[in-house]
Symmetry: C2
Subunit: 524 residues, 2 copies
Amino acid sequence: MAAADWGGKADHLAGERATAQFDVDGMKVAWAGSRHAVEVADRMACLVASDPVFRKDTRTMLSRKELFKDTLKKAAHAWKRTVELHLTEEEANLLRLYIDQPGYVDLHWVMFVPAIKGQGTEEQQKKWLTMAYKFQIIGTYAQTELGHGSNVQGLETTATFDPSTDEFIMHSPTLTSSKWWPGGLGKTSTHAVVYARLITEGKDYGIHGFIMQLRSLDDHSPLPGITIGDIGGKFGSGAYNSMDNGVMRLDHVRIPRDQMLMRLAQVTREGKYVHSDVPKQLLYGTMVYVRQTIVADASRALSRAVCIAVRYGAIRKQFGSKAGGPETQVLNYKTQQSRLFPFLASAYAFRFVGQWLKWLYTDVTQKLESKDFSTLPEAHACTAGLKSVTTSATADAIEECQKLCGGHGYLNSSGLPELFAVNLPACTYEGDNVVLLLQVARFLMKTVSQVASGKQPVGTTAYMGNIQHLMQCKSVVNTVEDWLNPAAIKEVFEARALRMAVNCAQNISKAPSQEEVSPSFPQI
Amino acid sequence: MAAADWGGKADHLAGERATAQFDVDGMKVAWAGSRHAVEVADRMACLVASDPVFRKDTRTMLSRKELFKDTLKKAAHAWKRTVELHLTEEEANLLRLYIDQPGYVDLHWVMFVPAIKGQGTEEQQKKWLTMAYKFQIIGTYAQTELGHGSNVQGLETTATFDPSTDEFIMHSPTLTSSKWWPGGLGKTSTHAVVYARLITEGKDYGIHGFIMQLRSLDDHSPLPGITIGDIGGKFGSGAYNSMDNGVMRLDHVRIPRDQMLMRLAQVTREGKYVHSDVPKQLLYGTMVYVRQTIVADASRALSRAVCIAVRYGAIRKQFGSKAGGPETQVLNYKTQQSRLFPFLASAYAFRFVGQWLKWLYTDVTQKLESKDFSTLPEAHACTAGLKSVTTSATADAIEECQKLCGGHGYLNSSGLPELFAVNLPACTYEGDNVVLLLQVARFLMKTVSQVASGKQPVGTTAYMGNIQHLMQCKSVVNTVEDWLNPAAIKEVFEARALRMAVNCAQNISKAPSQEEVSPSFPQI
């Protein structure tokens, strides 16, 4: 049997690629955002692909312990390369992205550092970020507890001020108050921003952030009064099993008063609780930032899954041979196309909406800094809605891509099982998608009522100001070609969205009690 | 801190259980099928739960190799217990079910043995099943190839008869003809039913089954000309990674002529291909059997996932506390109920339809044996449709149950990740769900056209005979209470199903070509 007969060398995709009817290079630039972005991305991708330490092909073969060690090795090597090559922040972020293995560094850069930036005083930022930027300390973000996720206001960990020693006593009063899930907590982190109920002068002032050292910088053992562990295996063969999500219980652990993050409020030496003149809305800037990165992650995951499924569809042939001829590429079946092509379109849509969200974050930040809070509720609803829609659609699409690759989609070697296992939890973390959609619904209901009383809606809801026209207009579409007119499509979406919102608002006004329908979520 | 404060001992479900408004014991019997079935199931469940060899709690912590060894150990121990306790076939099946770890024994009992039963002559059955029943040989079912899954008629492995030695030459002529996926093939099986194109006297007679010995019974090494391997990691932490799905290539391997399964057709000593008087429709009996077990598996998996999510919802409290009182059980939120309760209803529905499918299999088998094939197409469509609907709904529901348990649903300790990873592939194996639904659609279109020409439809499609009434009737429902009338509900479903089928048939008759819409699937 000649090697050629086994088909190992043939390029089965060249024919497909040759028939592209668009400017491939131009699309690359549009996708990346700029010619510069294409160049940097390619360079970082090559850096990962050419370095044996970053190899990924054995990842799903490793035991949990080996996988975790592999993650530590990669993180250390990435940091070494970042320093050696003097990578910019943009380059370093892309390097982490292409290494593509969840680990403690994600929490350090995406949660710990931004939390201190957003909630720490200038003095605190100088002290802690200096160490964090050099990786002299490794930080995580300890908010979620065993008993409380979505309901942040229900967290039970306490931070009780003791004026006799000028310290906070950090404590886990119940089993359910154990910190649970923080990535990097189980084994790696030396520090954390810990969220707890601030109690001073006998009064509970609600949830605040505190910087805590968790482990010795000498021998990495947990400090006295702190019990930490890994919470065990998670969904998927590799996926988040590379991350040491952890549990932590605190037994009256004392920290200096100046480790409370004090940008928005502080406790004085005497124990008085004092608000600063910095508005608390600033906190929402961080939330917009984190959700924006999640939308970007979703669009990236979806595009990878669709790429795998499209290529498989081009190579896989099944049924439809006539008189012994070749079978039909499954990509040519309408049943395959009708399932796959909407995902392909969504991958582009999510990419571009992700780029827009980056702009929104910059815009919100600038407005917050000049104390303009007028667009915040709309921006918050926007990021909540887009986080929910893109992560749910992406998880569903990756699962469907597995099915579209037949049995082969369930093999780890297809890449799809890990992509799915890494991205499904995004439907839950950083705001459960169902809870977030209810928040969006609540915002829309409020906007409808404001429009009714003559207030002009802003941002993505500005179209609702056109209520007179939209409630009664008829679509200008008469022929198939009319659907190619973007203005016509936009008007149809606006009219449909507004009519559904108005209709829903009318139904709710008739309902006996809103409390029965959904929990009372915190609102901006 | 007193132990009681940590809440470790409280029975949080007792209150919920006390409010059940139905006869729990009666429901147990209805679920199991009989009082006897409850008793046997309980006994086998206890046998597994009380035996340390069958422990499951460490399963997702094991490396692939350890997990595979653990599976071998459990299978051997189960066999030992089956022999020691003189378990009946019913009891032994339940024992395997409660051990709940995919392994080579599943293929041996569910595919290898039934294939020989269905396609082997009496002589062949006597020879091979005697050994199989004693586990002197371990069998698998080698049908799927790297290049062909759904399109069984496109399999490329050849079985060429050589009259000079009275043997078949089994061969893999291409890379894509490699056998790919058979469970138990990678490491364990000593024998297989291998499907290949039968070629004799220069003519290709299509796909037939052959019994092949794969490995030495002395040292378990693959026999000459046979290359076997494991196809690698699969979706999930544990899940199907306990199974040695395999790849096999055959290089002109010779087997005696009498290892062709000859119940339906045979090759004579001279190489003549001769049909027996046994009708080929008998093969479909096996298909009905296998799909019936898949529906039963789906209903079991769904009920387990729903059980976990319902209990979680009863224990988990979040939001809604008033003036510092306890929070609301998430099970009491309508947003949780509207997602969860339909799965609870489906779990019961799938259980009862699974019991009905068992009856259908018995009925089909009896009819086939008396050469009555009249109900076969309807029974085939029924099992294809129910396999597809129940496995898709179950996989989606388990995934949703993960989300309904918040972050905790992604922890292996919740049980849901493995349940999901084991059951999602059921959407693809033994007939891709989309392909199967297209077969059902084709059957329905044929039935509509037969009804139009006056032929009386049978079985589950008998209602379509009532076309005159159903196409124009109006629902008798006027009040909410009317929906409690089963006859009213049934008529609504019948009218809706028939009208959709007729409408679809009319649309298809207007379409330019059916070939463009979907592949030409094999038909009964």
